[in-house]
Symmetry: C2
Subunit: 275 residues, 2 copies
């Protein structure tokens, strides 16, 4: 199996597959030191891209949503003719579009944190050959939800789940920034508290957890926006959520400490300056 | 005091003021049977519009957000020269705009249900003469938060509070409709449940409580959208929320029973038909 690429999530997915006795190939070209460290720790086999594409029976793509298409195109262009399994947070129509470049495609969507413990992480799969991909994860920390043969269903499931967690998260950050900009932040936080709504703490938690991931959540929000629009449900919500996360993209490197709501609020108000 | 108009909220506000010994005038012209019943029960004094405008020292406006401007214009055109207190869910810039038609203006925003019990309903006030309006509510079920002399602050407080309750509510309704349209509703509800997120019950509750109010929440969402945009925080979220509530406007008359999530989901998918 060729894994593109061993990020925090990808490394855990590759390890689950390796645990079932399959060799996991990875391509170090262009990857970061952190990725190399993860791949080395996991004992993945380092190979050149074309070598991997010709040897692997399965390619698993776990990349930021904005890179899903270009990574797929690169694999398709190599002449790869096994099963291409795309586990990325993309819209069903994006999954369908990518699937057209491959003879065999399995749609996937991951819910939860990197899969190092049983019971935390679920992988939705769909497509005619979903069962073969499911079998790679037998008795692993990755729990599979097989949604049948239709490409797009697994992506739709992931979209639905992320739409709340990340959509509501970006909404909270926006509201906190608004309240600050008009000078009613303290009063709003007090009002939430007296009504038993723990939203100040939740906003702080969203800032900590999602702030450093804003650089990839922007593209994910735009995939969600496209998915809702394709379902005839209008748009706007998730384009705005995407814009909001985009403004936190420069926080990508904040991994050594917690990001604060104060920092995120200032980011949002500085990048969207008050007029 | 002239009250425009004794809706469910307005009647409770008028009663709080009446409880302090002030006469409450109301204008039956063009109002519904339900409004007449509420005003009669509360023993408000029925008068003609011009009579009320010349007699009243204070006019309090509690109307749907989309009617705030036209009601204010009507009062201003009558030559009213007392304090105009607008308690509607409008953006700070809308409040400022309305204030320009009056010599004396107090900005207000109501948080909570109709004010029949102590501890449920808070009225934010701001403006140079906010203290005079505050005094009308002494020892009443309406708890006042005086935000100082700046017109717009009370509206901003209300915007911030409503942005979460109604923004997150519309987000949930949209997500449920999306999941239905792509056939992953059951799986999404199960995923929420296994992660301890009581969102299916919350969606049902939002449908019940907000569905019948969609007819006026659409305009309120557009006020919020304008407020965020004026603060330099982008737009999209609340225009989409407004569109979503607009599609429930025909449920205005569902007051005799609970609206269900199933009905709301079907409304959203029918009015935004799947393409």
């Amino acid at each position: 199996m060729m894994l593109l690429h061993p990020g925090a999530m990808g490394a855990s997915i590759g390890s689950a597959i390796a645990g079932n006795g399959h060799s996991v190939l990875w391509v170090p070209d262009g990857r970061s030191d952190a990725t190399t460290l993860r791949a080395t720790d996991a004992r993945f086999e380092e190979v050149g891209f074309l070598d991997a594409a010709s040897r692997a029976e399965v390619v698993v793509s776990v990349v930021p949503p904005g890179a899903a298409m270009s990574v797929a195109t690169e694999v398709a262009d190599s002449g790869f003719d096994g099963i291409y399994a795309d586990f990325n947070a993309i819209a069903p129509h994006s999954a369908t579009q990518i699937s057209e470049a491959f003879s065999h495609y399995v749609d996937g969507g991951i819910v939860g944190p990197p899969a190092w413990e049983i019971g935390t992480t679920r992988l939705a799969l769909s497509g005619p050959r979903a069962k073969e991909i499911e079998s790679l994860f037998a008795d692993s920390p990755v729990e599979v939800i097989n949604l049948g043969s239709e490409i797009g269903k697994a992506s739709a499931f992931k979209i639905g789940f992320a739409a709340w967690t990340k959509g509501s998260g970006s909404l909270l950050l926006l509201i906190c920034a608004y309240a600050r900009s008009v000078g009613v932040e303290k009063e709003l936080f007090q009002e939430w508290e007296r009504r038993g709504m723990p939203l100040e703490a939740q906003s702080e938690s969203v800032a900590q957890q999602m702030g450093p991931k804003g650089w990839r959540f922007g593209d994910e929000m735009r995939e969600i926006s496209g998915a809702l629009e394709a379902a005839g449900l209008g748009n706007g919500f998730f384009d705005h959520a995407g814009e909001t996360f985009d403004r936190l993209a420069h926080r990508k490197n904040v991994t050594d400490r917690r990001l604060t709501l104060e920092e995120v609020t200032q980011d949002l108000l500085q990048v969207f300056p008050k007029t």
